[in-house]
């Protein structure tokens, strides 16, 4: 059956209007980009709601959207753990406890916080790893998008790759971080409005939530699970064999709810940078909470339609199919674009495809702008050309460097995209490596912020060894039926996990524990290298409490956090 489709003139018209506005925003912001602070930190002038939507939009990249719809099909509502327990508590923690140190320390990046709190080498280790991983990640998402457009819409791979890169380059080059953030807000709305008609149509086609549950029962039972496994979240997590993820509730809580999500949301500069661009301390603390509200409802737009797609796949009268890969297996990541094809006529179809392009651009611009800041401040300014003291000249110089870095970053991403097109497995591998970096980083930053006794040497060795332990764990274990060494076991297999997800969770748990343990032990063994007054604004116990009494009660971060927490609990109970 045909798994390709063509767009019409009207669809291209809509896409063109979108491109015009995205570039227009960059153009309009160009005149404000007079110094490095404006270009790389958005002048710390973003209203909380703008930064909050950008915060969530930059996370909603193309790989995320495509992957989550596919996971909905493969694992059902269990996928929402990535959006609820696996995101919201971490975002609340970032907002309430960590943002004040990131923002208040005047650090311009997460690596720079490490420098202020610990020492130069800890910063260097994190900055280099982060810069490398960020450009590679943006290259991979570029590859995924271009190959999707080639396979499904028949567009030329090279043309879509270069065209999409050129647009992101143009608007980030013109308007820097401000332009990335502004466009992320615009893209956020395009993603919602573009995907909404598809989500509503697919749900009414399968007879709503109730109809979907009924149709799913025989399909899911056929796979050997209880009838409502695909429409519940916690109900079947008392054992590993009774849910498709193959993890138990405590694995979800500890692996996803704690180590992976805190590692991602609380330390990934790509995300934290949006909150650091906020206009005030209160705004910065509200950013993750404002982002959390749409985050909780995004599953209904991308995961639930994926679940409905499982019904469609098993109903021949719907003639819904997924493209197959070379091995003859369905490509689950293409579920979303196949749903767009299935339900949207010319017109809204253009808007839907534009939504996918927008999600790609928001993710990639996030990578590019974070890479820029880390490269310019944490690598170039630290090791290649330190500030001279003439602030005005420095600002001009680093602005120029930031601009050049934008171009270089995009070029390296393009190269990475071509590497990814040669080695399909590199994608899985890099995602694994990314989680190996984040978990130890969270351990180190957490101890740095909340334990004044932690020292620079402790942090550096904790960070390094946490990464090494993650590598070792990955090298010594394997998911069942692994066919390549990319999945693990490249040293030798001493343990086999039922599924890859379980292996990932445990890699992160081991890495986190090793990093935390080592940081504590080495800190105890080494002499304190910072005095109490050095740590003012960097460590919880050494910083005066924030006074929110001047802020209206309903605008206080704690109140917002309460609302977010209540919604999350209600959603979890509703879909228990």
């Amino acid at each position: 059956m045909d798994t390709t489709f063509a767009l019409h003139g009207i669809d291209y018209l809509i896409m063109a209007v979108y491109f015009l506005f995205v570039l227009g925003v960059g153009w309009a912001l160009k005149k404000y980009m007079k110094n490095a602070t404006a270009f790389l930190e958005a002048g710390r002038a973003m209203p909380a709601w703008v930064a909050g939507l950008a915060f969530i939009s930059t996370n909603l990249g193309a790989l995320e959207v495509m992957g989550m719809t596919g996971s909905g099909l493969k694992y059902g509502m269990l996928t929402t753990h990535f959006y609820w327990i696996g995101a919201i508590p971490a975002m609340m923690f970032l907002a309430l406890f960590m943002m004040r140190f990131y923002y208040g320390s005047k650090a311009r990046s997460v690596p720079e916080y490490l420098k202020l709190r610990f020492n130069e080498k800890t910063r260097a280790l994190n900055a280099f790893l982060f810069a490398l991983m960020t450009v590679l990640a943006s290259g991979i998402s570029m590859y995924a998008l271009a190959i999707l457009l080639e396979n499904v819409l028949g567009w030329n791979f090279n043309v879509s790759l270069f065209a999409s890169a050129a647009i992101v380059l143009a608007y980030t080059y013109l308007g820097g971080l401000s332009s990335a953030i502004y466009n992320e807000v615009l893209q956020f709305f395009i993603i919602i409005i573009g995907l909404l008609p598809m989500a509503i149509l697919v749900m009414s086609d399968v007879g709503g939530w109730g109809g979907m549950q009924e149709s799913l029962a025989p399909i899911v039972e056929g796979k050997g699970f209880a009838a409502d496994t695909w429409t519940t979240t916690w109900k079947y997590t008392t054992g590993t064999g009774i849910n498709p993820l193959g993890v138990q509730w405590y694995g979800i809580l500890a692996g996803l709810g704690f180590v992976l999500s805190f590692g991602y949301w609380c330390t990934n500069f790509l995300i934290v940078q949006r909150a650091m661009a906020a206009e005030s301390m209160t705004a910065a603390r509200k950013v993750p909470l404002i982002g959390a509200i749409p985050k909780m409802f995004i599953p209904f737009l991308i995961i639930v339609p994926g679940i409905a797609a499982l019904v469609l796949l098993n109903d021949p009268s719907k003639s819904f199919v997924l493209p197959l890969n070379a091995a003859g297996e369905p490509i689950y990541d293409y579920t979303i674009i196949m749903l767009l094809k299935q339900y949207l006529p010319a017109g809204v179809l253009g808007l839907g495809v534009t939504a996918l392009l927008a999600s790609f651009m928001s993710g990639m611009a996030g990578n590019v702008s974070a890479f820029n800041t880390v490269w310019t401040y944490d690598i170039y300014q630290s090791y290649i050309r330190p500030a001279t003291g003439d602030q005005e000249a420095d600002e001009k110089h680093y602005l120029k460097v930031g601009r050049i870095t934008t171009i270089v970053g995009v070029l390296v991403s393009i190269a990475a995209a071509y590497i990814a097109s040669k080695f399909g497995n590199i994608m899985d591998f890099l995602q694994t490596v990314f989680s190996m970096i984040n978990a130890p980083l969270f351990a180190v930053i957490f101890l740095g912020m909340f334990w004044k006794r932690s020292t620079g040497n402790g942090a550096f060795l904790g960070l390094l060894m946490g990464f090494v332990v993650a590598l070792l764990h990955h090298g010594l274990t394997q998911p069942e039926g692994a066919s390549t060494l990319v999945k693990g076991g490249w040293i030798g297999v001493i343990h086999t996990y039922p599924v890859e997800m379980a292996q990932n969770f445990w890699t992160a748990i081991f890495a986190f524990s090793a990093a935390a343990l080592l940081t504590v032990v080495i800190s105890m063994l080494s002499r304190r290298d910072k005095t109490d007054s050095d740590l003012n604004g960097l460590v919880y116990s050494m910083t005066p409490k924030l006074d929110d009494s001047g802020v209206l009660w309903y605008q206080r971060p704690w109140f917002l956090a309460l609302i977010v927490g209540i919604i999350m609990v209600l959603l979890s109970i509703l879909f228990w």
């Binding site: 506005f21 227009g24 709305f189 909404l196 006529p345 010319a346 809204v348």
Partner: protein, 71 residues
């Protein structure tokens, strides 16, 4: 600095208008709307998008300033 609601408002108004017009022009096109469960999803979605765009425009600082001046 630029109020982001202005470009968002403008863009969604333009896009909404295009889709609405296309929806109007294709009223009764059975074949086109067969896949969308016989609903003219362009018309509905277009009007919704247009409404969102106009609200954003009304909320944007430059427009509010002009409205205030008129009063």
């Amino acid at each position: 600095m630029l109020d982001i609601r202005l470009p968002i408002g403008l863009m969604f108004s333009v896009v909404g208008l295009i889709i609405t017009i296309y929806g109007l022009a294709t009223i009764g096109d059975v074949e086109l709307y067969e896949r969308s469960l016989n609903v003219n999803v362009n018309l509905i979605s277009g009007l919704g998008t247009l409404a969102f765009g106009l609200i954003m425009l009304l909320l944007s600082e430059p427009v509010r300033k002009k409205l205030r001046k008129k009063e």
